[in-house]
């Protein structure tokens, strides 16, 4: 078994850094997330091999932090989402590159609608044994 995993070295530290924001934070996709929430999920392409050599796996990892708030009133929801996005951007740890923030969209999660925006981040991971 490897000593490190993407979950332990990349996704969980990101979720831990995000734990200070005023939202429910998940390092995986939960069945029924409670708004407001931040979910870290893989982006596409997920893993990009950019460094030389293959004796050890070095890869760029692309992730999406889906930031969502309740969608009740459009102006208030957008304001809430913008504030949550700003608080997320402020706590993304060293070593993670912020690629972009996608436009907000309305998505149905369970019985309710949420306003979601994707924050695209990337970082580098080295597999250790």
């Amino acid at each position: 078994m490897p000593a490190s995993t993407i979950l332990s070295d990349i996704r969980q530290p990101l979720a831990t850094a995000l734990s200070g924001v005023a939202a429910n934070v998940y390092a995986y996709v939960p069945e029924a997330p409670q708004v407001p929430f931040c979910v870290t999920v893989p982006d596409s392409p997920y893993l990009e091999l950019q460094t030389i050599n293959k004796s050890t796996l070095h890869t760029k990892i692309n992730l999406v932090i889906s930031v969502a708030v309740a969608y009740n009133s459009n102006p208030a929801s957008l304001d809430n989402l913008e504030q949550l996005i700003m608080s997320v951007l402020a706590v993304i740890p060293v070593g993670y590159t912020i690629e972009s923030v996608e436009k907000p969209t309305v998505t149905q999660v369970g019985p309710s609608n949420v306003l979601v925006s994707d924050v695209r981040v990337s970082t580098y991971y080295t597999q250790t044994t």
């Binding site: 091999l49 460094t51 030389i52 050599n53 004796s55 590159t97 580098y124």
Partner: protein, 135 residues
């Protein structure tokens, strides 16, 4: 016969000092050239190679602050022993190894916006002295 294709991922690379260069390097290219004079004679062109030169182009992700940092090791070497060779071993693929000395250069520091900090070097290979091992 099957066509051979090797990629950058077939490369292995090491510096004297043992810094973890492979985890940071995104591109490593050794270039060795003959410096060839051309003479126009009554019989036509004649050639004479008068020198050998080499360069080693390295692109890497900056690793300032990391234990065994490549950037910090190169900065220190460029500052304290600028004319002392660093030995580099580059294996292009299994069976093709190149060992050569480079002169240390200062890495750049800093980056742009939210991009990853990167460093690009073009090292001079001392005296173009590349020792190759093909087997």
């Amino acid at each position: 016969m099957a066509t051979t294709v090797i990629t950058g991922r077939d490369i292995s690379l090491s510096f004297t000092g043992g810094t973890d260069i492979e985890a940071q390097a995104t591109s490593a290219i050794l270039t060795k050239t003959n410096v060839r004079e051309t003479y126009q004679t009554l019989d036509g062109e004649a050639y004479k190679t008068v020198n050998l030169e080499g360069t080693f182009a390295l692109e890497m992700l900056a690793d300032w602050g990391k234990a065994n940092s490549v950037c910090e090791a190169l900065w220190t070497a460029a500052e304290t022993a600028p004319d002392t060779d660093i030995s580099v071993t580059l294996t292009a693929a299994t069976g093709a190894q190149f060992v050569f000395p480079i002169m240390p250069e200062f890495p750049t520091a800093g980056g742009a916006g939210t991009d990853a900090q990167t460093v690009s070097f073009t090292f001079k290979v001392s005296k173009g002295a590349v020792v190759e091992t093909f087997n």
